[in-house]
């Protein structure tokens, strides 16, 4: 058992370090290629774009989302905004009506069917060259779209470009922790972009050439993670997905543990189920980075977190078990005295490996912060992220695996309802 534990631990640790080093080497190799757009950007070509905002009971946030789209620095006659009410039961439709007469905005109402049905309705109604989605809890930076289109103009192979997602006004520790996570994700996404291994085109402002859908078909329900499925489908067919680091979208993140838990449960559940659906890609040479790097590293990170958490639980159990035995045989003893002695400082290989992993994690966060022009290299949010996620992430990972086994889907609709509460 001990040998099994050691082999599993070192294998996971080796793979985790390998992945992080790969990102770091890619960063140093490509850092001069990271696009940095000027504040005022003029494009050689302004193609027609349709952006869809699918809504289910979003009366509180959708106005600001639409206004942020209206404030985009992009020719109004080239930008169509579709507001789609997915059978809301609140005042979302009334809010939509206020925008009805603004040129470029079209509103639609349909029966509740899930986010992918809204997107597919929009795909049927549009003929523009580019197509994108914006979640109704997100606001776009005025230059975001121009920067993405500039990347499309400069790279005719790019079939989809994903933005950099940032946390909108973090108000509590949980949202601050997510801020650190999102900043790190920007770095990782850019590196995956360089490597051709992006596996998700997230809801907030990922822009596609419409040809993608003409060629590959519409969105699928995909376990309520249609943004992962379409990305995997594109990778399967060799369609390039890139990342625009200075195309900022600010999103409202869950402000309570239970909301975060529900969101992540959906994401991880979707990831696992999509991985199962697309298992034919794994370790197949023709699918490149996604097959050999993105999917395996995603699975390794899930297994690693669960492994570390199980070890931790086992240690806590052992400690409590021994304490109970001790109290049982000799009662409570208050003679415990702590004397520092460096001898008892952990010098196991595991400890030094953890240091290396944490240094690599910190490097990822520092680079992420640098990419979004944060002034200080590090913030207290990093600490919040490490502490909070170490404790709660295993729960949604365990639950997601459990749900995957019994095929219990997480509902986008219910999650939206809970987010509004």
């Amino acid at each position: 058992m001990d040998y099994f534990y050691v082999i599993v631990f070192y294998s996971l640790a080796f793979c985790s370090v390998y992945v992080q080093v790969f990102f770091l080497v890619t960063f140093f190799e490509k850092r001069r290629s990271i696009v940095k757009h000027p504040d005022i950007l003029e494009l050689t070509r302004y193609p027609e774009i349709t952006i869809v905002i699918p809504c289910y009971n979003e009366e509180k946030t959708v106005s600001k989302t639409v206004e942020s789209l209206c404030n985009l620095d992009y020719p109004k006659d080239k930008l169509s905004i579709f507001l789609i009410d997915d059978g809301s039961t609140d005042g979302t439709w009334d809010i939509f009506k206020k925008f009805e007469n603004i040129p470029g905005i079209s509103i639609f109402k349909k029966e509740n069917g899930g986010k992918h049905t809204c997107l597919n309705l929009a795909l049927e109604k549009t003929n523009s060259e580019f197509f994108g989605c914006l979640d109704s809890d997100s606001l776009v930076h005025p230059q975001a779209l121009k920067r993405i289109v500039n990347m499309f103009n400069n790279d005719e192979n790019a079939m989809a470009i994903v933005p950099s997602i940032l946390v909108l006004n973090p108000k509590n520790i949980l949202q601050s922790a997510q801020k650190a996570e999102y900043e790190m994700a920007i770095y990782i996404k850019k590196m995956l972009g360089f490597m051709g291994g992006i596996h998700v085109t997230p809801g907030p402002l990922s822009i596609f050439r419409k040809k993608v859908f003409d060629d590959l078909g519409p969105y699928r329900k995909a376990h309520n993670t249609e943004d992962q499925e379409i990305a995997l489908r594109m990778q399967e067919h060799g369609y390039k997905i890139d990342h625009c680091p200075d195309s900022y979208v600010y999103t409202i993140t869950p402000d309570s543990f239970i909301k975060l838990y529900k969101q992540r449960l959906r994401w991880v559940y979707g990831f696992i189920k999509n991985m199962i659906d697309y298992r034919r890609l794994i370790f197949r040479k023709k699918y490149g980075t996604v097959a050999f790097f993105t999917i395996p590293s995603g699975l390794i990170s899930i297994i690693s977190v669960l492994f570390i958490f199980s070890t931790l639980l086992y240690n806590v159990y052992q400690f409590i078990y021994n304490k109970i035995i001790q109290v049982g045989v000799v009662g409570f003893s208050n003679s415990y005295s702590f004397k520092f002695d460096w001898f008892f400082f952990d010098t196991k290989t595991i400890f030094f490996f953890s240091i290396i992993l944490y240094v690599l994690l910190l490097s990822a966060m520092i680079i992420g912060r640098k990419m979004v022009n944060e002034k200080r290299a590090l913030s207290i949010n990093v600490l919040y992220f490490i502490v909070i996620y170490s404790i709660i992430a295993p729960f949604w990972l365990f639950r997601a695996i459990f749900n995957s086994i019994i095929s219990k889907e997480s509902s986008w609709t219910l999650e939206r309802l809970s987010l509004k509460k």
Binding site: V21, V25, T26, N157, N322, F343, F344, T349, I356
Partner: protein, 258 residues
């Protein structure tokens, strides 16, 4: 369509860096563990010297009065050594050759201390109680419990001298003790003042069997100045004075590695 060329050079380069980092972690662990082993060896050498000094003192004192001799000063070195060996077993490895060797030396020191202190108490009529505790490192819940009981008793009765031995340690001296006292292989096993007790013994069991424990309670501790060392300072040749403070290894032990 995207075409991504496999960059084997990069894959190999990253592999090389990862292996280097891996090696750094393994080497760091090895380096610090070796340092720890060296430290343990140094502690053992010191205790060994102290013990030799105690034996010499005892030989010197044999012709003299016992009235000022006391053995209640605890050897913190031997205690802390037990803690550290126990920690090393858990963290460096129970099968690590260096750890096993240190444990053997530690057991020998215990036996020497036991023999010396037994002589001192016999000759001087002390009220000490000697406990030889045999355990093993396999799954043994009762050994864990027995360890707590003995630690607790030792705190309560500092004159209770507990010496713990790994039953399975490949050391002829331990095997000889096992055969002398006819210690059964079923651990935990205790030898208290020469009598063998097999299986778990609770605090109450031991207190009941040895009512004389009450007479060596903590508050009955003699003043520190009554120790052998002060006696040596007062009576014996001045040459021994420098060593005398540390030489009184009226040792007891913690119970390592359950």
């Amino acid at each position: 369509m995207q075409t991504t060329k496999t960059n084997y050079a990069k894959i190999f380069f990253v592999l090389l860096i990862t292996i280097s980092l891996f090696s750094v972690a393994v080497w760091s662990s090895y380096y610090f563990n070796t340092k720890k082993m060296d430290q343990l060896k140094a502690i053992e050498d010191k205790i060994s010297l102290d013990l030799l000094s105690s034996e010499t003192q005892f030989s010197l004192l044999q012709e003299l009065s016992c009235k000022d001799i006391s053995t209640t000063i605890l050897s913190s070195e031997l205690n802390s050594l037990a803690d550290k060996i126990s920690y090393s077993e858990n963290n460096i490895g129970i099968n690590n050759a260096s750890v096993i060797n240190l444990k053997k030396s530690y057991s020998l020191l215990e036996i020497k201390d036991f023999l010396l202190m037994k002589k001192v108490t016999e000759r001087c009529g002390q009220k000490s109680i000697f406990v030889l505790y045999f355990y093993n490192n396999d799954v043994c819940d009762d050994c864990v419990k027995q360890g707590y009981v003995l630690t607790s008793l030792r705190e309560k009765y500092p004159n209770l001298r507990v010496y713990s031995f790994d039953y399975n340690l490949d050391l002829s001296a331990i095997k000889t003790m096992i055969s002398i006292y006819k210690v059964p292989s079923q651990v935990p096993a205790l030898v208290i003042n020469g009598k063998v007790y097999s299986g778990f013994q609770s605090v109450e069991d031991i207190e009941k069997t040895f009512p004389q424990l009450q007479s060596i309670k903590k508050n009955d501790l003699p003043k520190k100045d009554d120790s052998i060392s002060s006696f040596v300072k007062k009576v014996v040749s001045p040459d021994l004075k420098t060593k005398s403070e540390s030489s009184v290894s009226g040792s007891n032990t913690t119970t390592p590695a359950n």
